[in-house]
Amino acid sequence: MPMSAPQGNTEKSSHIKFLIWGIVVAAIVAVFLPAPLFASNLSFLFYMMLWITMATSFNFVAGLAGYMPFGYVAFYGIGAYATGVLYKTFGLPIPVALAGAALAGVTIGLLVAPTLRLKGVYFGIVSLALAMAMKLVISLMPSDITGGSLGLILSAANDPVAAYYAMFVVLMGALAAGTWLTMSRLGTALRAIRDDSEAAEVVGVNVVGTRLKAWIMATMFPALVGGVEAWYTNAIDLDSSFNLLVTAKSIVYAMAGGLGFLVGPIIGASTLYGIDQLIWRHFPTLNLLILGVVIIALMLLLPRGIVGAFAQRFSRFRRFIP
């Protein structure tokens, strides 16, 4: 077979892409790791990490596998309650409770895995129903376990700096999982599935098995985030834990940055969360209205997100974008 020698270029592109990604991760570490020593507003950085993690893990399932789980908050809520119940009711240490939260998220994710055969809006509706069902199930559980309508208070576990670092570890885990998912062959298979699942199946991709791997990752991290956030705030209640705004923000932040790119959710979450906080500080009563306008403008002007628009405009650099 007569060949040219393009593999050198392809490998070079991969190396540059990986280098850029390494610089991005190093910058994240440099910003967030030493922050508790210097930052006066730890909460801002904590929630920025939270939203980057949520948007990143949402990207696993929406940007890579092509699903739009409108009920993504279900896993966040499950994680929060699993942490609270294991710590408060069963007296387990926080790290063990957080591991239990991750396990609970993955278990529920596996239980609903058969719905992965659904497509488009049907899967979105099922996941929305899951969030509502989970909220209902927890509300019907004995109040001496879940705290009933008052929820759970974890004041004995109060340690904001430790919780901050726990969120940092979860964020690093999500970025590592994202690296594995996007830069491996699994990531290529997932993006093919996202673009056309039937065509992917026809060229040898085991669609069900591949989707399941991304789905497991996508259910574990929001459960961990919910658990760590519960530890940070020391409070868990049904309305906050299953607030659909958590899903909405995960979607918007990931899409604003650019679905399908590793850096997309990072840029989207940090930019929009920063704008959100800025608006909140200066226009507290008009916060959601102004943020909504910003999001609408972003979606109209950059439907593929900030990174997606850059990749489309400068297509020769696309292969270097992680």
Binding site: M1, P2, M3, S4, A5, P6, Q7, T10, E11, S14, R185, T188, A189, R191, A192, R194, D195, D196, E198, A199, A200, E201, V202, V203, G204, V205, N206, V207, G260, Q312, S315, R316, R318, R319
Partner: protein, 235 residues
């Protein structure tokens, strides 16, 4: 060798394939003609696992393809294109081709090398880093063909490869299809309405009508067959 034996496919009360049988020897091209709705694409869908056959048998080199998922049929060496090309629009051309090689046990360098070879062959190499959605319809057909050829298939199912393709790209397609049996070592099931191309390329031709095989033979015999003239070719 592909053998389809008494293949039946029903959709509820409607019978799309009614006992279709055919044999496709190694390294040969079988053209399939027929009116719209005659069951040509349904047959391809049954062969590559997109549809479960209601009855009948399909074997490739003695291995049954019945009940296998499309990705498993692909692993057996069956590649397939669609009437409307189904590329991965938001992936680069190189990535489109690499998808078909993910489970072939190749190194990244080998994948890049083979992908580049096929992109050159279909004259798309200069666009290798572009999104596939940026290609014209004809170029997407070429990309789709290259995507299955990188995997070195035993059998290629081509569904209307010339539809919507301009003459120069069609000529390129014809040349590649012509090479397939001898140089590339695969068999081709060519479904097309382009009679000239089918007559020119096919070793044998099968005409389908209302889910059944109406006639089979070489180009000359098919053109003279009175049943085919009445049902498909016209006076």
């Amino acid at each position: 060798m592909l053998k389809v034996d008494k293949l039946v496919k029903k959709f509820g009360g409607m019978t799309a394939l009614d006992g279709v049988s055919l044999t496709l020897p190694d390294r040969s091209i079988l053209g399939v003609l027929g009116m719209n709705g005659s069951g040509k694409t349904t047959m391809l869908n049954c062969i590559n696992g997109l549809y479960d056959a209601t009855a009948g048998e399909i074997t490739l080199d003695g291995v049954s393809l019945i009940g296998k998922a499309p990705h498993a049929v692909f692993s057996e060496g069956v590649g397939r294109t669609f009437q409307v090309p189904r590329i991965f629009p938001q992936m680069s051309l190189l990535e489109n081709l690499s998808v078909a090689l993910l489970n072939k046990g190749m190194s990244n360098a080998e994948i890049a090398e083979i992908s580049a070879y096929w992109l050159q062959k279909v004259e798309l190499y200069r666009l290798r880093h572009n999104y596939a959605e940026e290609l014209s319809g004809g170029q997407q057909k070429l990309l789709e063909l290259a995507r299955i050829m990188v995997a070195n298939p035993k059998l290629v199912l081509l569904d209307e490869p010339f539809a919507g393709v301009n003459p120069s790209l069609a000529l390129l397609l014809i040349n590649i299809i012509r090479e397939m049996p001898k140089e590339l070592g695969c068999s081709v099931l060519l479904v097309s309405h382009d009679l000239t191309s089918v007559y020119e390329l096919s070793d044998n031709i099968l005409v389908m009508h209302e889910g059944r095989v109406l006639a089979e033979g070489d180009a000359e015999a098919i053109q003279k067959n009175p049943d085919v003239i009445e049902a498909y070719l016209g006076a």
